[in-house]
């Protein structure tokens, strides 16, 4: 009897399941909506706090780039060689002669997504609040001492020191004005979950660990940028799954972090297209000048390393030729480019051996190269570097470390040499120069880089807004860095943004300035 009941219960459950599934697949599909939903896959997780003033995670930066308008922007489809265009600003800042006061006109007729008016008071509020909340991005605006409301649509930023790089910082979401009334009405906790800006998209739903849904803000001030689709930012824990999902059609677009080893299969998929996204992201070999007893303390040994590295071989053998060799040492694409590391090209093993002999190492040297096991290209890049250095008599021992351990020990400067990555935080050459070149920079401290000439140049570079002068200054910094040979760039990392054939409006863009408002989706033919 018991057996009969068990079987009966199992049959009933199976029938219910079958009916549900049948209903799911056979129920008439809703007619195509006027506004389609586009699912954008990513591996960049989003945390509960979406407040642009607080959160600095890359995933949140990308979202906030379309929910908030910064004062200036990198126009879509153009790279930093182009002008930083006004977005919420109405024009370029007027900088005082001493560089300490920036007067910025603001765009009129803009409303926040909750209907309140955007004005100078909102800008001042947004800047002032950064000192009252736990902000991981506030350091970008550390040069701003105070903000004055000049009139309804003009603000003045009063700086602690001249900072020509500030305009680059003003393109970041942390500088994107928030709705003061929304913060006060909702309270900070609620505002963090669905913050209110002036951008073309507004937050609708955040399901933890799964997706964020954003809807077009139809009242956006720039009607040519009102989005055409509802955007679902779907979070994947693993890029392999995301790759399968776009091939299957479960998502419309795989935006980032597809492994380079998966590129060939996606590039050959007839259902997919792609654009190149310039990440402004480099892979480099850092040589520590400050380890006692290390042969790398001698500049000739470091130069021997540079003469031994063949970036084209790395690009070809590891990255299938997708990533290009990098030869500039400020690691920010397009900003005062000067490929100073070309002085060590082409690869010259004989020259490298001669330099080692001159440095007192006729039989070669032993060095250690650290790398994070989960980093891009690891361990293939490191193995190839080891092979290339061996041709010159540089015997490299490779040490792989867990990522968190690598960061900690790297920051402590405990490495002799290390393969890592570098990118700019904001769109200005000072973003990297102040970290890697100036002796006060955290990166420079690790490699014990302490060069008076470079320090003076960095100060000059940030103190002047004249483009011609800055070009000369940052060119000189790069020449000096190349001569010291502390940073050996390897490749310039690009991302390929894949999308299905029924998606349009996809534009390549730079860094995290994601112009997703251009995206459109047509219903695929069934």
């Amino acid at each position: 009897m018991k057996k009969t009941y068990t079987i009966l219960a199992a049959v009933v459950i199976l029938v219910i399941l079958a009916i549900s599934v049948g209903f799911y697949y056979s129920a008439p599909k809703p007619s195509p909506r006027v506004v389609q939903t586009l699912v954008l896959g990513t591996t960049l997780d989003v945390t509960p706090n979406l407040d642009p003033g607080q959160n600095y995670l890359t995933g949140v930066l990308n979202l906030n780039n379309i929910v908030f308008d910064p004062l200036y922007e990198v126009p879509p489809g153009m790279f930093p060689k182009a002008y930083l265009a006004p977005r919420l600003a109405a024009g370029d800042p007027v900088v005082s002669a001493d560089g300490l006061h920036w007067t910025i006109p603001l765009r009129q007729g803009v409303k926040f997504q909750d209907g309140t008016a955007f004005n100078a008071t909102a800008v001042k509020y947004s800047f002032d609040r950064l000192s009252t909340v736990k902000s991981y991005g506030a350091w970008l605006l550390a040069s701003v001492n105070s903000v004055d409301v000049v009139d309804t649509y003009t603000v003045r930023l009063n700086l602690k020191f001249p900072n020509a790089a500030l305009k680059g910082s003003l393109t970041m979401p942390v500088a994107g004005p928030v709705s003061p009334s929304a913060v006060q009405r909702m309270g900070l906790d609620a505002f963090q979950k669905t913050p209110i800006g002036t951008g073309p998209y507004k937050y609708v739903e955040w399901v933890p660990g799964d997706h964020v849904t954003m809807a077009p803000y139809t009242g956006y001030w720039n009607q040519s940028r009102v989005p055409k689709v509802i955007l679902v930012y779907k979070i994947f824990a693993d890029s392999a799954t995301m790759k399968l999902a776009i091939q299957k059609g479960e998502i419309d677009s795989a935006w980032d972090n597809i492994r380079y080893s998966d590129y060939p299969s996606l590039l050959s998929d007839p259902n997919l297209k792609h654009v190149v996204v310039a990440e402004g992201y480099y892979q480099l070999l850092t040589l520590n000048m400050g380890i006692p007893g290390s042969p790398l303390r001698d500049v000739r040994v470091r130069q021997a390393v540079a003469y031994s590295i063949d970036q084209d071989e790395i690009s070809r053998k590891v990255y299938q030729g997708i990533y290009s060799a990098a030869n500039d040492s400020l690691f920010i694409e397009g900003q005062y480019p000067k490929p100073s590391l070309l002085m060590y090209k082409p690869t010259n093993v004989a020259k490298a051996k001669q330099l080692l002999t001159d440095a007192g190492y006729p039989n070669g040297v032993d060095v250690t190269i650290w790398f994070a096991g989960g980093a891009i290209g690891a361990p293939d890049v490191e193995a190839l570097i080891q092979e290339q250095l061996a041709r010159s008599g540089i015997r490299a021992k490779l040490q792989s470390q867990e990522t968190g351990t690598w960061y900690a020990r790297f920051r402590a400067g405990e490495f002799e040499s290390a393969v890592g990555t570098m990118s700019a935080d904001y769109l200005d050459a000072d973003s990297t120069a102040s970290f890697i070149a100036a002796s006060t920079g955290s990166y420079a401290k690790r490699v014990r880089l302490n060069d008076t000439m470079i320090d003076q140049l960095v100060i000059q570079g940030v103190a002047t807004t004249d483009p011609a002068q800055r070009t000369k200054i940052y060119g000189d910094i790069q020449d000096r860095l190349a001569a010291l040979c502390v940073y050996v760039p390897l490749i310039h990392v690009l991302d390929l943004w894949f999308y299905r054939n029924n998606i349009s409006g996809v534009q390549g863009y730079y860094f995290q300035y994601s112009p997703w408002w251009t995206l459109d989706k047509s219903v695929p033919a069934s």
Partner: protein
């Protein structure tokens, strides 16, 4: 000892167990290189002043023993601290992500237990035959395959065959779908939404097969071994000689005795299920605590890691307590 007293004792024993576990994890996290501030800022960003400020805000600049005492004090009040990276309280984060893990592990156990136990019993009753060999080999092969590899293989199979099964996530982000409990099957039932129910069930198929078959494989082996052992006992022969049918001998005499060790093993497998959930959630982008733990480890989020460990410890304890109580149902000799 009465049942109530037994339960109370077990609950009280859980407290020192959790405290010891958290202490061990606390020490390990502090000994490992790196901290959440460094991990969050990465290799480049952050001035020393900013790092110092963030460390101060998190209390990481205090002596380790002070940090420990403060954490333990808060723990006893149910406060698991603040997650630097998630910028939210750990309790809130765990409460947000736990339902998805419960849904996945419960459904996996729902598949694993009957599949594992029945296949083991079936194999035992046909011991020595081809069916027995097939089941044993199948269970061994499945047990040897790493859970993440199996999950990925299933995903590739679905994509290559064009099967209409979702390969990631807990739902299809359906407009208007209810997210009340975080367990989408229950949410759909409560909302009376058959499409959402079907969507939730379909999203469970691959992860449940991945995780459930892992547990089923080991359960099958244990079940078969125990049933074979019991079938060889003298009292089984006596029962047969007395005239009981084969089914009666098996169901009344063999099975109840074989079930006790199987039950014990099932309780232990809960820990394995949670461990497997970490990997399964990663492969299928399932928004559960396992994925949260991976995120926390990558960012050295001490409080979040410790919170996840506490949660897993409590879940395993609860599961084992339920198993122990269920002994009295299976074995009438067991009384509290």
């Amino acid at each position: 000892m009465r049942l109530r007293t037994y339960i109370l004792m077990r609950l009280l024993l859980t407290i020192p167990m959790v405290l010891i576990l958290v202490t061990v994890v606390f020490i390990i996290m502090r000994v490992m290189p790196g901290d959440p501030v460094v991990a969050l800022l990465g290799s480049k960003a952050g001035s020393e002043e900013q790092i110092a400020l963030l460390r101060h805000q998190l209390g990481l600049d205090k002596p380790v023993y002070i940090q420990y005492l403060e954490y333990m004090g808060n723990l006893l009040r149910g406060d698991l601290g603040y997650s630097l990276v998630r910028q939210d309280s750990v309790v809130t984060e765990l409460a947000t992500y736990l339902p998805a893990t419960l849904e996945l592990t419960f459904c996996s156990a729902l598949l694993a237990i009957p599949l594992g136990v029945y296949s083991g019993i079936f194999a035992a009753r046909h011991a020595g035959g081809k069916l027995d060999a097939s089941i044993r080999i199948g269970a061994l092969v499945r047990w040897c395959i790493p859970v993440f590899w199996f999950g990925l293989a299933l995903q590739i199979l679905v994509v290559q065959t064009g099967a209409a099964l979702p390969i990631s996530g807990q739902s299809s982000q359906m407009e208007g779908a209810a997210h009340v409990t975080g367990m989408y099957v229950i949410d759909a039932i409560l909302a009376g939404d058959p499409r959402a129910l079907a969507d939730a069930l379909l999203h469970l198929v691959l992860p449940v097969i991945t995780l459930g078959t892992t547990m089923a494989a080991s359960l099958s082996k244990i079940a078969r071994t125990n049933v074979v052992d019991v079938l060889g006992e003298e009292y089984i022969k006596v029962a047969s000689l007395k005239g009981c049918s084969e089914d009666q001998v098996f169901q009344k005499h063999a099975l109840p005795n074989a079930l006790i060790p199987i039950l014990t093993y099932t309780g232990l497998q809960v820990a394995v299920l949670l461990q497997g959930a970490v990997l399964t959630e990663s492969v299928f982008s399932w928004p559960g605590v396992g994925r949260l733990l991976l995120f926390a480890v990558g960012y050295r989020d001490f409080n979040l890691i410790q919170g996840c460990v506490v949660l897993f410890a409590l879940l395993v304890s609860a599961a084992n307590l339920i198993v122990d109580i269920s002994y009295s149902i299976v074995d009438p000799r067991v009384r509290f």
